[in-house]
Subunit: 194 residues, 2 copies
Amino acid sequence: MTLETEVVTTIFKDLSFNPEEIQLLVRSFEKLHLPKNSLLLEAGQYVHDQYYVAEGCLRTYYIAPDGKEHTVQFAISDWWISDYTAFFNSSKALMHIECIQEATLYKISKNDMESLYQAIPQLESYFRKKMERSFASFQKRIIANLSQSATKRYLSFIQTYPNIEQNVKNYHIASYLGITTQSLSRIRKELVQE
Amino acid sequence: MTLETEVVTTIFKDLSFNPEEIQLLVRSFEKLHLPKNSLLLEAGQYVHDQYYVAEGCLRTYYIAPDGKEHTVQFAISDWWISDYTAFFNSSKALMHIECIQEATLYKISKNDMESLYQAIPQLESYFRKKMERSFASFQKRIIANLSQSATKRYLSFIQTYPNIEQNVKNYHIASYLGITTQSLSRIRKELVQE
DNA sequence: CAAAAAAGTTGACCTATGGTAATAAACTAC
DNA sequence: GTAGTTTATTACCATAGGTCAACTTTTTTG
């Protein structure tokens, strides 16, 4: 499969483009493979790019001043990932992005994104809607964090990411839920006993 | 001041429009006044509109099954407010929106928004960027909730909204921070003693 | 301005989750 | 397959924040 076909048939499978648009699109993306356990981004680096995950699994996490890790986002097939706060502002990353499962990504720079928005207006709509969905899901997560117990949050997590549990470590999930690995262990134990 | 001037000079003060665009804009917005303590939106209602806050203060909150309130967002002058999850999906609200301080709002429907995006492409950019900033700030809040103590979250809250404290009740702040009013009382007491 | 209602504070006690540390289990690499 | 390393579990105690209830202060209303 050529890069051309891939970009159009995987990333933007819901849109249709004319030949010139396809050329533009293809020139903007770069394909990359990432081995397990590698870092795609480190805090402190300038963030110029965002990444479409074709395959594999990554996570974005923040390391607090006390040294503790907090997982902000997992990204699996068909998700986008970056340190978006830094990406939007073209500023330095506060977060790290780690490859949890060997991954295939398509990378695009902020500059190229902005050019594409100008050249292909439907892309701006497409990404605005994507942002809207992300916004809604973050809001949902804030509510969940405010209103639910760790056990309930764990149960919704495994519902939301049914296949992720085989891939990720316990402490990834714990740091996403905002609890310690010990607490997660206890929660699982109690759930099994019931 | 005419509605025309208001919409262009307050809501979209950073943009410029031609006369036809201004007509379109003005026809899409409706101005409204809201008394203190009134409800702008209740959970269960369909959400067709979003609102620009020209003046006053509102809050979006969620009532959990156990009856507890969780404040998701405050909106002061120059912010937008809605139940965005429902607004984006044209579905039923999960949240309530309450007017905390007598407010002047400009209301626009989702349909009119979509038409404006078609007619005035710079608006799509404008709102995409707005979404990006909201996204970033929600992400920041998730990190704060995961990594900081209630006391620290309270301190950042009063930094982020320096003038809001006179307007809002203690229990609004507590429900935003994810703690009880009693805990907030204790936190304040400790902070004063230091 | 007085009475009533709402909001805020404080205290005593409770509970969920955190911290530390030892142990067990699961991977990884030779 | 064994040694070494990483990850997960368990136990024990500590603590932040929750709960319930009484009390005080502030705000609202007639």
